[in-house]
Symmetry: C2
Subunit: 291 residues, 2 copies
Amino acid sequence: MGPAIPVLAVVGVGLIGGSYAAALRRAGHVGRVLGVGRNAQSLARAYELGLIDDTATAVEAAAQADVIMLAAPVGAMAKVLAEMRPHLKPGIVITDAGSTKAEVVQAARAALGDRIDCFVPGHPIAGGERVGPDAADADLYAGRNVILTPLPENAPRDVALVRASWEACGAHVREMDVQAHDRVLGSISHMPHFLAAVYVAQVARSGDAAERLALAGSGFRDFTRIAAGSTEMWRDIFLSNREAMLTELAALRAVLDSAEQALERRDGAAMEALLEEAAVCRRGWKLGNTK
Amino acid sequence: MGPAIPVLAVVGVGLIGGSYAAALRRAGHVGRVLGVGRNAQSLARAYELGLIDDTATAVEAAAQADVIMLAAPVGAMAKVLAEMRPHLKPGIVITDAGSTKAEVVQAARAALGDRIDCFVPGHPIAGGERVGPDAADADLYAGRNVILTPLPENAPRDVALVRASWEACGAHVREMDVQAHDRVLGSISHMPHFLAAVYVAQVARSGDAAERLALAGSGFRDFTRIAAGSTEMWRDIFLSNREAMLTELAALRAVLDSAEQALERRDGAAMEALLEEAAVCRRGWKLGNTK
């Protein structure tokens, strides 16, 4: 019996796509791996590192691959899918690793038309500061959560194929609907990045920013770590998940207002109740995966 | 020549006070150490651990000590100082480790009256999750910042004595005025705790909180770590630093408003500019001490 995925094509062989290829190769889950991308240097490096066996155009990948992983920025996916559309090999399954899902699904529907059934949207909740093929790591997904948001048009067999590939990477796979994914991720991933950026910008704009930063300690360090991330990526994620973010921001402002009012009226009991609610929640929480 | 501080009294022999005593003892900077506190069990444990040589009442400490370190909650300092006031040994120097300074100075002025000259306010920027005498650590202050906010009434000799004690603990000492301290700490220490608590409370109140928390990752983990801290301590700090916090909150809301408006009008350029400002600031920042 051959590998579960005879030919895999990865569009964007960086941290996310490269790690997926490396993990599947190590698990014996793939035969041949094709790398697709705009950056020739990046593809050459991926080849050198053994992440891919060959490079291919989007059209070649569509015609040859059994599974295509789109690990390109959310904004670039529509164009790639439209290029692939006329050349899709029968039975091909396309999945992605985009951080938001409603916009990706909308773009995929527009690009793939009646072939939307072959697109199984996904999102691995993993990442890191490093980028590019050199950051690829066969262990990146071990013990991490991957969310699939299957479409009504997907064949269960195709969803199972994508699920099995992530499980071969060592990930925990769960299925959610598209709106729930974007709401939940908007809350527990995108909102912290948004607030950390707003907070750091406010400190940076203060007249005595240098003195403040010189005295900042480990609380500041951890609270603001994510504000150092990729600005282009997070701009795209915020805009892509705009609806869910605005809904969360309204809910956040309601709590912020009540906390500020408690402070204004020197209401220690209300302040402590809020802090206690947060502390109980946070103390009871554990990172649900090993990394 | 005997030790720089023949008799030290520590009011509150927990993480902060106990670590100060342990570091000074290891440095040969103190002779005898007296422990003062309301919790007999805690004092017994501090004695067992060798942090103190004996226990004392506030009155005894005032009459016998050369230096008194107030490492009690900010709210408890006024009462202790008022008890000590009629019994202060000539030449005594009192300092503290409170997280805010304006309110502490106000309370000290009210309690000490014309003896305010002996009170040199201080704040070590160090801490940790653990509390009590068992958490005391002679290395806690090594490489950390300690801020002194001397009063116009202080004799330079007394400020130098307090400074030298912190330097003997391995700390970097800097002087600031009381208002600058509270503004700077309000911004880079208190505000992150306030925002982290508001954010976690908002997540905890959502209808699908369990699902959100199950999918939260390492960004959430670091952004919210400080929300698990002591609720009583942070309630007191927020109320004690109310003026500075309200000023910072107004500045933060202005940035939050503009970020939200950029999102509302799908303004990618404005969003990216804000993210870039924050990322540049955060990437250029380093924790200014070794822990």
